[in-house]
Symmetry: C2
Subunit: 328 residues, 2 copies
């Protein structure tokens, strides 16, 4: 199995990306293609011990940044690490592509270069959603901001397959993000999607409200990309603002500072748990080949985890399973 690594994508590229990739190489039974500026990548590689024959460096002089317009960048930056990497994937030089680069560009590139699975109407971004009960998967996290009910049905099916095959959750509970729990609640889109999801071959548990999402009621949260992105960012915003307010409470006076110091380990752990950037990556769902988006701020550990997800994605035949379920 050969994993294609976007050596230039993400805030900490290439240093942490190359380190994470080599850590993965030494831990798992894989080969690597690392795409990026050859001299930079090779300079990083020199730092490590690893079986040289298992790593190929594929030169790409350009980089797509978060400031680039995603679709334009994919079309114009032909020699960017992302485009070169996705082409290599599409030409079957490797089995999966992992990138911590621009989410929008990765999605655009996935659609233009790798293309959708036959029968899939729209590819979706998924995102890990940390809950008090572990992790949920939110699909769509922002790719399709004007969805149809049929897309949401497919998001539910794909999310369920991913959580079962890759995350090892038996019979994953699929919930539809909605403004009320009863059937018949919501807007036109969710009412129609409810009917389709109910009649799909998944463990559909019905509507799920924002109030209970952070409790991990569903393993897969299905939403239109606009709503999904809003859920994700509000969750992030509330957590950030609460932790910053907590900090003020802690630093108020000597007594509170002492109190806070006694709670430090637990608080640190809690902050880590609520930070979804801690969790490796999340897949694009619906493309013909496995594409994993690692978080932009990934360190080597997170990046290694993202590669591990790619391995699991391949080993468990996720794409074949999606094809079979969508086209039956």
């Amino acid at each position: 199995m050969r994993i294609i690594v976007d050596g230039m994508g993400g805030d900490n590229a290439p240093v942490e990306i190359v380190k994470g990739a080599i850590d993965a190489l030494n831990e798992y039974d894989i080969d690597l293609i690392i795409v990026g500026k050859e001299d930079l990548i090779n300079k990083e590689l020199e730092k490590y011990q690893y079986p040289k024959e298992k790593v190929e460096v594929l030169n790409a002089d350009d980089v797509i940044t978060n400031e680039d317009d995603p679709a334009l960048a994919i079309r114009r930056k032909k020699n960017s690490s992302m485009v070169v990497g996705l082409k290599a994937l599409s030409e079957e030089k490797g089995d999966a592509f992992v990138s911590a680069g621009s989410t929008g560009a990765l999605l655009a590139g996935g659609l233009f270069i790798v293309k959708r699975i036959k029968g899939i109407d729209r590819a979706a971004l998924s995102s890990v959603y940390p809950t008090t009960n572990g992790l949920s998967l939110l699909v769509d996290a922002g790719a399709n901001t004007d969805s149809k009910a049929e897309y949401l049905q497919q998001f539910g099916i794909m999310g369920s397959i991913y959580m079962e095959k890759v995350m090892g959750i038996q019979n994953p509970k699929v919930g539809l993000a909605n403004v009320g729990t009863e059937e018949g609640k919501g807007n036109g889109l969710t009412k129609a999607a409810y009917d389709l999801l109910k009649n799909s071959n998944i463990n559909f548990i019905g509507n799920i409200e924002g109030r209970t999402m952070p409790l991990g009621e569903a393993d897969v949260i299905v939403a239109d990309g606009f709503v999904g992105n809003m859920i994700l960012k509000v969750t992030e915003g509330v957590a950030i603002s609460l932790f910053s307010e907590l900090k003020k409470v802690f630093y108020e006076n000597t007594k509170t500072k002492i109190g806070a110091s006694m709670l430090k380990p637990g608080l640190k752990e809690l902050k880590r748990k609520t930070d979804y950037t801690e969790y490796g990556g999340a897949p694009l769902l619906g493309t013909k080949k496995p594409i994993i988006k690692a978080h932009g701020s990934s360190n080597s550990y997170a990046y290694k985890n993202a590669i591990n997800q790619a391995i699991s994605f391949i080993n468990n035949d996720v794409i074949k399973t999606i094809e079979d379920n969508i086209n039956k």
Copy 2:
């Protein structure tokens, strides 16, 4: 000025409602009509000292509960405190109606009985949105789950008027809830609404993302009712789950318990600040007469605040200002 009080609505009715109403009567220069089961209301009233000539009890034997279908209940429970109260408002027996009862029924009743301001396409639920920077107003918080751009424009105008006139914020900043900050981001609805809001006579600051909403970037957050309700409930869910996780950290061992006890006052205050149920009420925006929704769990203090909001709503000619701004 005469305030009509739904004596039976809310979790703590009639005890806390009547107490809050009498507290308001003794603090502000108002008269009251309290609607509800006469014997129950009178029994509560007997507990207090107040100028008897300023309070009228209007009998209503029935109550609309949260379990009732809102629109059906308004049509069928003709003798409920909410329907009787709204009728009294519509017949100008009082100047505003305040209820802690079912939000959906209050909205339905507002539309059926009190009716919309001429020129207003849809009435909206607003909700207080607590931020680290004070309070924002979220419009629509759930009344219209399939909005058009024109509705969102009107929500922005009405929210701006309310925040300026009632909450005393000069030139309120109006933001459009969206999945990106740049113009042109979002779905079809928000793109179209952006253009309309930009060309409205309000202080439109553009798109606002979920990540910055809790920081109080905008005084008014404009959203479709589906999205607004999702924002509100996700915010609530994340806050609840984080506080519950914090509790676990605090109770882990003797040391953490001591540490937590040293932080108690600050934490309590923080929890209070983040709980939107603490803030009196929020108006229905777009009905012909002032209707204030007090939170279902209102205690007497919150209910008194909701009455104070009604007073301010009346004194500042909010409805006339909305009429003038919509129809010019």
